[in-house]
């Protein structure tokens, strides 16, 4: 008995599926970016009118926050770091490879929603997206620090920088194998950094 069946509230029931509407909005934000999508387009894609939009999501900015959190939580990219007893360099290499694949898998949603919107012209949206990014970088840093505390910061920054480049390339329309080649080359520096005295 999950609570998927919502308890009926008092007033008039909502005429649309909130979660489905979030999916539509996420797709639009992914394609056009925060600033490239207007409330009119969002509401239209959701099949509703602006007042219903504001009643359900508060504002465009709040909706974006909600979608950022959703996206970050649903992203499986950082899961490789939780595999027990994995070699750090190998884990990060797989992370980059997975990112290269994920970012270019769906041409309609190329790149990373978080990384791409970290450069939005809208100061608030960019700041929120960057906070989201920083949290992921911190996760990577802590992961590396468990075995290589000295190099943890640089390695995490480096991985994030490469991911940013991969996301940008994906949005430029580059094919998956081209991105994977970059990711694999980038892994060379990670191995050199984490296993300096040849195995």
């Amino acid at each position: 008995m999950t609570d998927t069946e919502k308890i009926r509230k008092r007033g008039r029931p909502r005429a649309f599926d909130r979660d489905q509407a979030l999916n539509q909005a996420q797709a639009l934000f992914h394609v056009h970016g925060y600033e490239g999508v207007g409330v009119a387009a969002l509401a239209s894609a959701m099949g509703i009118n602006p007042p219903s939009f504001y009643a359900a999501f508060g504002s465009k900015a709040q909706l974006f926050d909600e979608i950022l959190a959703r996206y970050a939580q649903a992203s499986p990219l950082l899961d490789v770091l939780d595999l027990p007893g994995i070699d750090p360099a190998a884990a990060l290499a797989r992370l980059l490879r997975n990112a290269a694949s994920a970012y270019s898998a769906d041409p309609a949603q190329a790149g990373c929603l978080v990384l791409e919107n970290g450069r939005s012209t809208d100061a608030d949206a960019a700041c929120r997206a960057r906070d989201c990014r920083d949290a992921s970088v911190a996760t990577i840093r802590d992961f590396v620090a468990r075995s290589h505390p000295e190099q943890a910061q640089v390695v995490a920054d480096y991985v994030a920088a490469v991911m940013s480049g991969l996301s940008s390339d994906a949005r430029a329309g580059h094919a998956t194998d081209r991105l994977i080649a970059i990711a694999d080359m980038a892994a060379l520096a990670i191995r050199a950094m984490l296993e300096p005295e040849g195995r």
Copy 2:
């Protein structure tokens, strides 16, 4: 006798310095991005009114094109590739280091104007900026191809990806030394790629 002294044309002379106005516009575009600056702000920074703006530059898009070309031509980053007899890996390592420095040198103009605007929400502006970027990548690829034709494409793509990440980090406010650490680590992959059989 350079032709800096412009030949007087027929009608009323322009009341502002066109080149100086371009500088103002470039600074604004660098800080706020193509979409973050309006014609009103551009004209105001130039000390003119919209009609003079359109008479002198055609449109916001045309002005941006002109500034992109200006910026790319004035950028000294790719000059290291022209140093005679330089080691390819060392040249690219220096290129990345220089980019890390340049992108974070002036906090008021962090990152690369071209790379940052390649992700603009405005389709035209993003496309023009990406064309500009592609030209630079081609230059790097040709440079690498002279000594390592097989690896030229990946290495050039990789360098561009790292530069994109550096630019993004610079815009996020990261300090120069943090960027340089990333650049130096990135250089490890270049050396590993171009000198595979240990020196």
